[in-house]
């Protein structure tokens, strides 16, 4: 990895530490979910019912964590959510980075062999 790439890595690490800005500012300005990303209970509040297909599909799959802020459980205090957010940022980054490097390494080796 050259010098420039190492620089980029530091920036990425800084970004992950600063990521709680992404929940603090919306929190301050009383903003909610992104449009079209509400949970079915919120949809029910907005339109008065839960669409049947949404009712069926929304519980189809649960991620390993339910959100970036919920690593330590739902409805955690803000400080814990911040910690969870940073851990999610770093964990997700590591998983993505390692996964891509593994995939590309494997792909490179198999295409060199052929």
């Amino acid at each position: 990895m050259n010098k420039f790439q190492k620089k980029l890595l530091y920036w990425l690490f800084l970004l992950s530490i600063l990521s709680p800005i992404g929940i603090l500012i919306p929190n301050l300005l009383n903003s909610g979910d992104a449009w079209g990303e509400w949970d079915k209970e919120t949809v029910e509040k907005m339109v008065g019912f839960i669409p049947k297909g949404m009712e069926n599909l929304s519980s189809l799959f649960k991620g390993i964590f339910s959100d970036y802020t919920n690593i330590f459980g739902e409805d955690s205090p803000l400080i814990i959510q911040i910690l969870s957010y940073i851990i999610s940022a770093i964990l997700g980054s590591l998983v993505i980075y390692i996964l891509i490097r593994l995939i590309l390494k494997f792909y490179k080796n198999t295409s060199e062999a052929s």
């Binding site: 990895m1 050259n2 420039f4 790439q5 620089k7 890595l9 990425l12 970004l15 992950s16 990521s19 800005i21 992404g22 929940i23 500012i25 919306p26 300005l29 009383n30 903003s31 909610g32 979910d33 992104a34 449009w35 079209g36 990303e37 949970d39 079915k40 019912f49 669409p51 049947k52 297909g53 949404m54 069926n56 599909l57 929304s58 189809l60 799959f61 649960k62 991620g63 964590f65 339910s66 959100d67 970036y68 957010y85 999610s88 940022a89 964990l91 997700g92 980054s93 998983v95 993505i96 980075y97 996964l99 891509i100 490097r101 995939i103 590309l104 390494k105 792909y107 490179k108 295409s111």
Partner: protein, 227 residues
Amino acid sequence: MHIPDGYLSPQTYIPLYGIMVPFWGIALKKVKKVLTSDYIPYIAMSAVFSFLIMLFNIPIPGGTTGHAVGAAVIAIILGPWIAVISISIVLLIQTLLFADGGITALGANCFNMAIIMPFASYFVFKLTNQKSHSKLRIKISSFIAGYIGLLLAAISTAIQLGIQPLIAKAEDGTPLYSPYPLSIAVPVMAFEHLLIFSVVEGLVTMIIVSYFLKYEPESIYSLKQNK
């Protein structure tokens, strides 16, 4: 714009998965050409960057939030086909690890953020920059590319959501999935991106491209002579 499970009907999400397959196939073929050990870290870091930038939710006071995606940056610096792979992996991990975006909607989310956005951004960049090497022009082109790329991804998402009440309803006419029609989905998504989120994407794109221009301009895919 990570569509959760339950917002799209199978008649929408299955074809969108289907469209992704050839794109993923072609993208993998294209990435073969750049699998050098000095290039691979860029590909991995581009995905990490996209993942991290999507954590920075931008609020509309009292309203919804949005975020930049980073697909324009990746398309300009590494090329749109690498962006297809990077962003797709990000979306996959976001779904599996954090339930950010549904698993049925993964094809749709990839279509919007890993295809529409990178290719739109790339073409807009090439169109506005032409073969210029002027730093100012490159920066402006980057901004516009990011701006329009995210906007188009948002509109694509809005269309997928907005047609649901039309194509998937119960016998009594009530929507089975996303309940808001095109007449709401498209204007809302378009305006919030036109006014705020796309501006952020444009700035992010411009800033990162500027950084590469300063330190490693020769690695920018979209500026290479024969592209």
